[in-house]
Symmetry: C2
Subunit: 390 residues, 2 copies
Amino acid sequence: MRKVAVVAGGVSTWGVRSATWGELVQEAGNALFSSARSLGAKDVDSLFVGAAQPERFAFQSHVAPMTAELLGLHPWKVLRRNELACASGQAAIQDAYAAIASGLSDVAVVLGVEKMNIPSMAEATTSMANVLDRAWDGVQGGTAPPFFAMAAQRHMHEYGTTAEQMALVSVKNHKFANTNPKSQFYSKTFTKEKILSSPMVSPPLRLGDCSSMTDGSGAVLLVSEEKARTYTDTPVWISATAQYTDFHNLANMPSLSSWTGLKKAASELYQKGGIDPTDIDFAEVHDCFTISEIIEYEELGFCKKGQGGKFIQEGQSDLGGKVTVNPRGGLLGCGHPLGATGIGQAVEVLEQFQSKVPAARHVKDAEVALTHNLSGSANVHTLTLYRREN
Amino acid sequence: MRKVAVVAGGVSTWGVRSATWGELVQEAGNALFSSARSLGAKDVDSLFVGAAQPERFAFQSHVAPMTAELLGLHPWKVLRRNELACASGQAAIQDAYAAIASGLSDVAVVLGVEKMNIPSMAEATTSMANVLDRAWDGVQGGTAPPFFAMAAQRHMHEYGTTAEQMALVSVKNHKFANTNPKSQFYSKTFTKEKILSSPMVSPPLRLGDCSSMTDGSGAVLLVSEEKARTYTDTPVWISATAQYTDFHNLANMPSLSSWTGLKKAASELYQKGGIDPTDIDFAEVHDCFTISEIIEYEELGFCKKGQGGKFIQEGQSDLGGKVTVNPRGGLLGCGHPLGATGIGQAVEVLEQFQSKVPAARHVKDAEVALTHNLSGSANVHTLTLYRREN
C-alpha cells in the first residue's frame, strides 16, 4: 500500500450564489490550481468528483467527464463520480486514496460540488428527502430535521442534554466561521440568545441548530509519495480511512441517541492509525445539526457517552480545549453544499497543518486530525485520519 | 498491489419488468449469494453499487446504504456508489478492484442496478438526455440516438460501411441472446431483413440498431487472493484496468468516427496486461448501437481502422472468428440497464471461463478476455482485462 499525500486545495465562496453548477466547478478548479506549486492540467492523471444530487438540483448526470471538460482535463488513469449523500466529498477523497495507494493513479484531483439553491426550492427540499428510503421513512415524513430532532429528544431524555448546550455548538461554530471569509455566514453574529429564540424547525431543533442549503465547491490534490514534494514543501498524509454502514431505515435502528456505527468506524480508524482519541488535535465533524456534534464527541471518544453536552459547555471542543472541533466553522457556519463539505474539511486540515489559517482558529503544533461525515439517518459514517509529519 | 479475483456472480432477468428498484436489487443479491460457495452476509466487508440515475428513475438517492439494507449487509470497510452513466457498473467493479488491491477491503460485493421502465417514459427518456451537457449538446437535441447516428453517417462516408453490415452486428448479438434466458430479447428472432425494415430512429440507425430501455440488475463478488479459493475452485483474475476521458461536448470532439479515447485506453490496457489485441479470446463491448461495436473492433485493434464493417461481414467477431465479441448477447440482445450492464459483462466473463455457458456461445479454452463500456458521447472509455489462470 503506497503512501498518499494531500498537497494542495481550495474552495469557492459558499452561500446562496448566483453561480451555475458549472461555474462552481470552475471556481473550485481555480482555487486548487492557484494553491499548488507548478500544477498543470497535463499532470492530472485522475479525477474524482463528489456530488450528491446534480441529477435533481441541476438536471445533469454523468458529471465526472463534464467536470473534466470544465477544468480542461483529460484524465488518462481513473475517472469516478461518487454519490454518498452528505458524505459524497469525503467518499471521493477515499476513492482517490485507494486508487493512489494501489498504484492505479499518481496525481489525482478530487472535486466536490453542489448547487442547492435553485429556482424551485420545493424541488430542492423534496429532493433532499430522497436521501432516506422514500417508500418507508420518506412517506412517513422521516426527513433530516425530524430525524435529528428525535435523536435530540432522546439524548435530552437519556442524558439531560439541554437546548442551551446545543446552542453553544452553534455559537462556537459560527464564531469560527467568522474567521473564514468563504463561509456562508461570515460576518454574521450568532449569540446563544439569538439561537434559542430563532424559529422552531422540528422540536427541539430551532433554525440556529440547523445547517443550511448551500451552493459551494472545493477541490484537493492527492498524490503518491514520490510526487508529493513536486507540489508543496509541506504535504499532509492520509494515515487511515474507515467507514461503517449501520441500519438504514428508522424502524431497524437500535438507538437514536447512540450512533454505534460511528463508534465502530472510529475504533477501526484509531486502530489503523495506531492512536487513541486523545491523540487527535483537531477534528472536522459533521454538525448538520447541533445535536450531531454533541453525539459525535461521545462516539469519537472525545468524552464519555452522555457527556457531550457538558463537553461543549466546558469549552473542551473550543480552541484551547481537549480537542478543537470544527475550527473551519463546520456545516453550521460554513453551510453544507453536500458534495463539497468533505472537501472543505480536507482543505481545512491542509491549511491548519500548513499554518495558513488565521490565528483565531489555528490549532498550533497540531500533528493529528480527523474528518468525519455522516450520511442518511446517521447510519453511514465516513472517517479519514490525517498526519502532518511523514 | 494485491491480486484481485472475481469468484461469483449472477444477474436478474433483464427486460421490461414489474419489479421495483428494490426488488431488482434483491434479485441480484439472490443470484450472487446462490452462486458463491459458502458466502454469508457477514463475510462481506465492502459494498460497491453501480447505478446511473436512481435519482430520476426511482426518485431515490443515497442508494448504497439502501442496497446494503436490502441485502442484509453491514459493510464495515468501504461503501461506495458510482455513477458514470452507461459505465456505472464497470466503474463500480474498478472501484472495488482498487480497494482490494490497496488492502482496504478483502471481500466486496459489487452490485449494479437500473429501473428504466417507469410510468412516465417521457420522464425516463428526458432523464437519459442529461447524460450529455444539457446547457450545450442537450439543448440542441444532441442525445444518444442522433449522436451515434452522426458517428454512423461519418463512418459510412469515410470507410464505406453499410447499413447491412451494421444490421449484422444486431443479428449476431440477438443470436447469442437467444442462448441466454435472462436477456431482454430471449426467444425473439432478428433477421437482417427484419432489422433493415424496422422503424427509422435517427438515420441511418433503425430500431434494430439500438439497444433498449431495460430493467435489470447483477452482482459479482471480488476478493483478495488469500480469499479466492474460499468461494470457488475457479477464480477469474482481474489483470488490468484502463480508462480515458476525451472531450465531452460535441463541438470539441476532433472526430465522430475515430474514438481516440478508446484507442488510448486499449493501448494502456494491453501494455499493463503484457498482451496485444490478438491475445484477446473474447470481448464484451458496448454495443449501445450497432455502429458502436463496429468502431470498437477498430479502436480495440481487432482489425484495422475502417475495416470494422468487413470484420463483422466476414464473421470474425462471431464464435470461431478471430475474437468472439459479445457472446452474452450484448446490449442489443440483453438490454441495457445502465448500472447493471458492466456487471452483466463481468458475469459473462466469469461463466465463460468457468464453462457455465451453453455451447452455442462458449468460447472454449479462452484465457484472456476484456470488457468495455463507453459513456456519454463515446468520450469516456472504461476497460477491464481478465485472465482465467492465476
